[in-house]
């Protein structure tokens, strides 16, 4: 009797597990399919969005990407890489500075500043693009796509949130110990907080590095207003311009693959820190 009961229970568990595996497989297929399709399309000789597998295979799309003067992809890639590199370094420094000040130091106007940043974040940012562009014009850097670095870095203070949440969890007694030993707040920052926050530093670098690769709004505005040549585009601006022109469909797919590969690789390499960062940031709310 008992044996029979266990057997039926085991069978039920097995059935349940099979069901879960099936669901997970279906989900995975749905989630992967667009990327799978993208890679296949990038090798299609005759772009035909209707069929999944191309009728004839070719590397021509990739060759076009690098040789066609209308799509100087290498320049786009290089521009974006330089912007991303500078942005990630400078933004990380500023974000850490802001977060530390807002988390560990107590000064007049701290709460007000945090509220101000919260309020500023509620406005649709791109309405200020006219003004930001005018300021870039005053600084005489509006004719270069690299002015994006300044635009991204200038808004660093807005994204103090995740790092502050992390700093808040570091026990305050450590600070006090340093202060008793004659250290300054500066010492605390360099000797205590920074060495303890490797995960959040890597998270900040990762997020600020990947940001410029996907942002097309401000880049597009600069490109249009300053009337830049294709050599001055970023990948996001360049590839977005290809959409809607049927003759460039294959080139778009190839370009999309070329952008996604390095970013995805970087992401998977640092996946652990990313997960910690967004999970931590969300929970502390």
């Amino acid at each position: 009797m008992a044996e029979k009961h266990y057997a039926s229970k085991r069978a039920a568990e097995k059935a349940q597990r099979v069901l879960i595996y099936t669901i997970l497989t279906v989900i995975s297929v749905i989630w992967i399919f667009p990327f799978f399709y993208l890679i296949l399309q990038s090798f299609a000789k005759f772009p035909d969005p209707k069929s999944i597998f191309p009728t004839e295979w070719t590397m021509q799309n990739y060759a076009n990407l690098f040789t066609d003067t209308a799509t100087p992809f290498f320049r786009w890639w290089l521009n974006t890489f330089i912007i991303a590199l500078f942005t990630s370094v400078l933004q990380t420094v500023l974000v850490l500075m802001t977060s530390y000040a807002l988390s560990r130091l107590r000064f007049n106007g701290r709460q007000a500043l945090m509220k101000l940043i919260l309020i500023l974040g509620m406005f649709p940012g791109f309405l200020g693009m006219l003004v930001v562009y005018y300021i870039l014009e005053l600084l005489k850097i509006n004719t270069s796509i690299y002015s994006l670095i300044i635009v991204y870095v200038a808004s660093s203070a807005m994204s103090y949130y995740v790092a502050k949440g992390f700093f808040d969890t570091v026990p305050k007694s450590l600070d006090e110990a340093v202060m008793i030993d004659g250290g300054t707040k500066n010492t605390v920052f360099w000797r205590i907080i920074l060495p303890l926050s490797k995960p959040i530093i890597i998270y900040t670098i990762l997020v600020s590095f990947t940001g410029p690769w996907g942002d097309f709004m401000f880049g597009k505005y600069i490109v249009q207003t300053a009337n830049l040549q294709p050599e001055g585009y970023t990948v996001a601006v360049g590839l977005q311009g290809l959409i809607g022109q049927d003759s460039f469909y294959g080139t778009f797919c190839a370009g999309a693959v070329m952008v996604s590969i390095p970013i995805t690789a970087l992401f998977f390499w640092l996946q652990r820190y990313y997960v910690e960062g967004i999970a931590g940031g969300a929970v502390k709310g």
């Binding site: 309405l127 003004v131 992401f267």
Partner: protein, 507 residues
Amino acid sequence: MTTIKYLSLSKPERFLVKFLDFFKNFGKGFVNFFKGLPSKFMKLWNKICTPFRVIGDAWRKGSWGVRTNFLVFGFYQLTHHEIVRGVLYLLYEIVFILFMIMTGGPYLAKLGSLGTFSTDSAYAANPYGGSPVLVQGGDKSFTILLYSIATFILMIIFVALWYFSIRDAKSLQDNNYVGKFSKDSQFFDDMLNKKYHTLLLAVPLVGLVGFTVIPVVFMIITSFTNYNSIQVNLFDWVEFDNYAGLFASKATGSSIGIGQIFLKVLAWTLLWALIATFTNYFLGMVVALLINKKGIKLKKLWRTVLILTIAVPQFVSLLLINQMLSGSGILSNLFRQWGWIGAGKETFDNVLLARIIIIIVNMWVGVPYTMLICSGILMNIPEDLYESARIDGASPFKMFSSITLPYMLFITGPYLLSQFIGNINNFNIIYLLSQGKPSLGVLNLGYGDVGETDLLITWIYKMSMEGQVKNYAVACALGVLVFIIIAVFSLIFYGRSGSVKNEEDFQ
């Protein structure tokens, strides 16, 4: 009512008690709020008065050196061995006065009229005969407005520094009385310790003011003008006309007014934000539960597959899906075969279909985030809760609804709110996927080609950045309304979250 008494009640009775309690507490809270008002008011009053008291004190008890600081910033510091601080104060004063004379003053004088003659009409009769010549330096309302805002900000800093320089001088003098003397090294020491925040925040704040605060203030002020791409050089104050237009029931002489479009877009924006947030949340939680279930293998693989969507830039994946759904794309072909799309129609021609597709694609984009966040929290739920539930014979569904869900909702409440706000402003998914289609066909009104799936944010973008006529002023008014909507939602939910109030307890 004691707990025992409460527990002995039946379910409907408990509900009634809770319901009444809510209103009872509501009334109490109301009364407490007004009771607390006088003391709050006094606190505020004190705060406002302090600077005046300090200034008065400095004038009455200060030496002549301190009093000179009222006119020459940093004079007392300069004469009392605090060279660095004194120079900084004085430098700002000189630069500010020069700026006011050269730029700030003239622009500020034109703020009331926003300029009177533009380069468009600035041709004067040629003294040597022949065609008229262009007079340089016509007014530009944009520049007048922008410089006026910058001048106001510099003025605020000026007043603040005036106050600080006097307060500093007074405290220096007080210290001198007790035998403590100032020196420059103290200034540098303070920078690393007591005033470390000024050192850390200086650069981030300059960036924030220049590239965020000034643009946002400009945006708010522009919403009270009639700035658009037809009258780029000269525009005028229109007070609340733009807002009045958005709330007007019907424009004269046309079938649909901007007020109706606004209500339509607003309704869809809120509906979208609600549905998108909850579908993502629950599906993400279900996926997290499935992946983290005991006995399921390859956990890392499933997770990695989903993270792929986060790793690939959004404009790539969304534009790709847009291609699959448009024209002869693979998905739109499929829909056509199933008869979801009529002959000669596109996927985004059907309002309902377009909206459902957007919500589904949004799940594709957003579920991985929720999955990651939920995974972490799910693993933190104490296992013994489930153990005892199992012993009591609870079904898996009961365990989910009584343990997992309340626990998750409690911890991720703030996240849910930020997701809701993020979805109100979810620009990418609409702009890259449907471009707001199907169109409402109101392009001729001059407010952009707004469509059925447009959110307020994409409508603002269309109105201010695309099309023949760019109606910046109305777009800015809409932007301010978006801010008000978000602020109201935040105030309602955010203020109640314990983690915000009890920041100090938390550390």
